[in-house]
Symmetry: C2
Subunit: 244 residues, 2 copies
């Protein structure tokens, strides 16, 4: 893990870009902390870190304000990382299916999501190794948002993740829905009730499937990007309950 840039934000938060092999990432830590802090991994959709940067920075600042470190890495085939013809094809097929207004074929969802999960999850675990080796970061670790299926797989295979905030998304392959039954960590699940790209019954099935004893669903009005500020605040309080 190599730090490449470093800047101090208005609220004192230290923002550092890094690379982990070929993977770019960003780490946010408190301006000052007397002891190692818990870590929140910030998931994001596969649109490229640069494009997601303003929202990620805002989410990171909210996390650091609660006394956490926050970190994220670029997803496979996104941003400045090498592309993949298969991923491009799957995204194009998804767009076409959405434009046609019909339901999206399971086969397209599988091609879009499963290779991404298979490649991204080991990368996030490697990032976790590197981040937890830093003296300023302790644990426990939470995972928040982004591609739901990545969060599900991580929650199943990565014992260092203690709690997760996930979006109840419908582009979740059937096999991931099965994996969801094996998730046992506390979950805080967000659902945008009128999400255009979301099949609500399937999103509710996902929430129902999680094996966790402690899981909460927060549904709010509005579309995909309309999560209200108070819902973000509640998600942060969830991490305060389970990571501190």
């Amino acid at each position: 893990m190599q730090f490449t840039t470093q800047q101090r934000l208005d609220d004192g938060v230290l923002e550092r870009e890094f690379t982990l092999g070929e993977i770019p990432g960003i780490l946010w830590t408190p301006g000052s902390a007397s002891a190692p802090v818990p870590l929140v991994l910030l998931g994001h959709p596969p649109l490229g870190l640069r494009k997601m940067y303003p929202r990620l920075q805002a989410r990171a600042q909210d996390s650091v304000a609660e006394g956490f470190a926050a970190a994220t890495i670029e997803l496979p085939w996104s941003g400045e990382r090498p592309g993949s013809a298969a991923a491009e094809q799957a995204r194009a097929d998804l767009r076409r299916a959405l434009e046609a207004g019909g339901p999206v074929d399971d086969e397209i969802v599988d091609r879009l999501i499963l290779p991404l999960v298979d490649k991204a999850v080991p990368e996030w675990r490697a990032a976790l190794d590197a981040l937890l080796a830093l003296p300023e970061i302790g644990g426990p670790v939470g995972f928040s948002g982004g591609v739901t299926s990545i969060g599900v797989r991580l929650a199943v295979v990565e014992p260092r993740i203690s709690a997760a905030v996930l979006f109840a998304g419908s582009f979740v392959p059937r096999t991931i829905l099965e994996e969801a039954r094996r998730v046992t960590i506390p979950l805080h699940v967000l659902l945008q009730w009128d999400d255009e790209g979301n099949d609500r019954p399937r999103a509710l099935d996902l929430f129902d499937a999680f094996g966790s004893k402690e899981k909460t669903l927060h549904a709010n009005m509005g579309g995909h990007t309309g999560v209200p500020q108070f819902a973000s605040d509640e998600a942060n309080r969830f991490f305060v309950r389970y990571l501190k």
Copy 2:
């Protein structure tokens, strides 16, 4: 409105019992307040105020801690108020249907709930008249919990109610589901995901039906009486957002 008893609780809250004609009620107000405070009406199931008293007092103390007054009144045919053979019959029929394990007939739900709503709602409005006439209570007013259908009807007919916390219950008559479409105030809706006595799809239909632009559904694990403390805290913060 006649105050009959008065006591000071450990946290300084002033608890006063009152009668409004034949209807008993309880009012909780801050130990000291420099200006009139908003009011939260505490709904409850028709089990009698005496039986519900410990939980009502705890909810009231949480409300007063946020700077509200809290008040409740006995429901028709409950507690020490005169009973009703029709209400008894409807409750017995409900019990029998639940014990049989089958779905509860709409006809039973109508007989159980509609007369209760028709009689209770004018009583809560009369209580509101009396409570808002007290110098220590200003507004705005929130309604919280209890019999969902009473909350729905109140939200539709009583313009002084500005926000409501409701349980997504399934014993909601079809006609009340229709009234729900005319509710426009901000709503915070609680659903116990595994509620034995609750038909989950129908509870979700109720949430969907509400006409409010601002409505949030919080679903938690566990049965009817298992609402976790953090969910109550979030409901209180909802009132802080909309009544202050």
